[in-house]
Symmetry: C2
Subunit: 206 residues, 2 copies
DNA sequence: GCTGTAATGTAGTGGCTGCACCAAAACCTT
DNA sequence: AAGGTTTTGGTGCAGCCACTACATTACAGC
């Protein structure tokens, strides 16, 4: 129902749908959803507006298509590794290391989902997705903390909440008011925190 | 140059300037700067647009006037007490307690300055103010941590950075995607963190 | 009451927004 | 070649935006 690959008649598409979605994703990610006009999209995708509306229906539906792609990307790069890992705090540490890279690449634009949360939770479709993503991430933190031997379950919940808050803060810092160096510093501060939670040793080499 | 109280001729103002700024502050705080149109202001302040533009010059200048008032308020309520306190971590704890109240009152609208940081750092005037505010708050955390006996100076800097990140995260959580209860939970998670940093005792009674 | 001055209400500016309409174009099948 | 189907480009719409031009109004000083 979503991607109809070949039709049996009619004028062929002059563009690759996936490439167009990727380009839209780039714009939405960089500028935000509201700040990106249909004219911006027209220019960046190299497609007339009528083609965009014919292919996607509305600006919001195009955003949803972009979000589908984005969620798969960030899932593969960040969340799923955290969920699937057998480690505890070490997995969280890896997550933040990867997050730092994710957040700072290509002119620091933060995480698109969290950006959308901060920008436009008014669209119910979008708000639902951001809420789901947040819940998933917090539970991944929680599970990882419980995997760590010597961490008592009561504090695991509070600490997961703290980590989730830190992720939100890092994202804001990434988007505005912080250069890449300053941002790496902030991420380092969060990772430093994890040392205090590692029951046995302190400060793995680097 | 800013507030000319009495003029020696001409039609008198039909409104109290300070009240108008307060009303504008309320709108900007609640809805954000961009989302608040000059028509919204007209309706809320009970003043025609020509009066608004005559009195303030532009929407941005009105925001700056509102920011002046807001900065004084939040300074008195949150930042200055933290700066002036003789305590260390206890002062930080007090700060977050006050922040929780500040952030959740009247339909949880976060901190206006941090909202502006997340929303529109494009206006250079505004970006400068948010950056200044961030710097001030981080240094207040840093100073408080150094006041705490038994906290080594090297970690004080990293921890101040972490606290600043947490404040940003709490603010986002306050604005979107979290109810007041959930938010209090998040603030509690941050305050819980402070216990780990208190060298001597753990868990003050409540 | 006249004059100067400043605030007001009304109306309108150009520009941007998301989106719709429609005829022409480019393909398929028959 | 004809008919059917879908995409495309061009044009335009109604609505909102921040902001302004201007004539009118309400005051103070003389």
């Amino acid at each position: 129902m979503t991607t109809r690959q070949r039709q049996l008649g009619g004028r062929p598409r002059s563009f690759e749908t996936d490439q167009a979605v990727d380009a839209a994703l780039e714009l939405f990610w960089l500028q935000g959803y509201r700040q990106t006009s249909t004219r911006d999209l027209e220019a960046r995708l190299g497609i007339g507006q009528s083609s965009i509306y014919n292919a996607f229906g509305s600006k919001l539906r195009l955003l949803e298509a972009a979000l589908d792609r984005y969620e798969r990307q960030i899932s593969d790069a960040l969340v799923t590794p955290l969920e699937r890992s057998l480690d505890g705090i070490a997995a969280i540490d890896d997550f933040f290391a990867a997050l730092a890279a994710w957040i700072t690449t290509d002119g620091r634009r933060g995480c698109m989902i969290l950006n959308l949360m901060a920008e436009s939770a008014d669209e119910p479709e979008i708000g639902e997705r951001t809420r789901t993503y947040r819940r998933r991430l917090r539970e991944a933190f929680h599970a990882a903390l419980q995997r760590e031997p010597g961490v008592d379950p009561a504090s695991a919940e509070v600490r997961a909440e703290l980590l989730m808050t830190a992720v939100l803060g890092l994202n804001i810092a990434a988007r505005e008011g912080a250069g890449p160096d300053e941002l790496r510093h902030s991420v380092g501060a969060v990772r430093h925190l994890l040392d205090d939670w590692t029951p046995g040793q302190r400060r793995p080499p680097a």
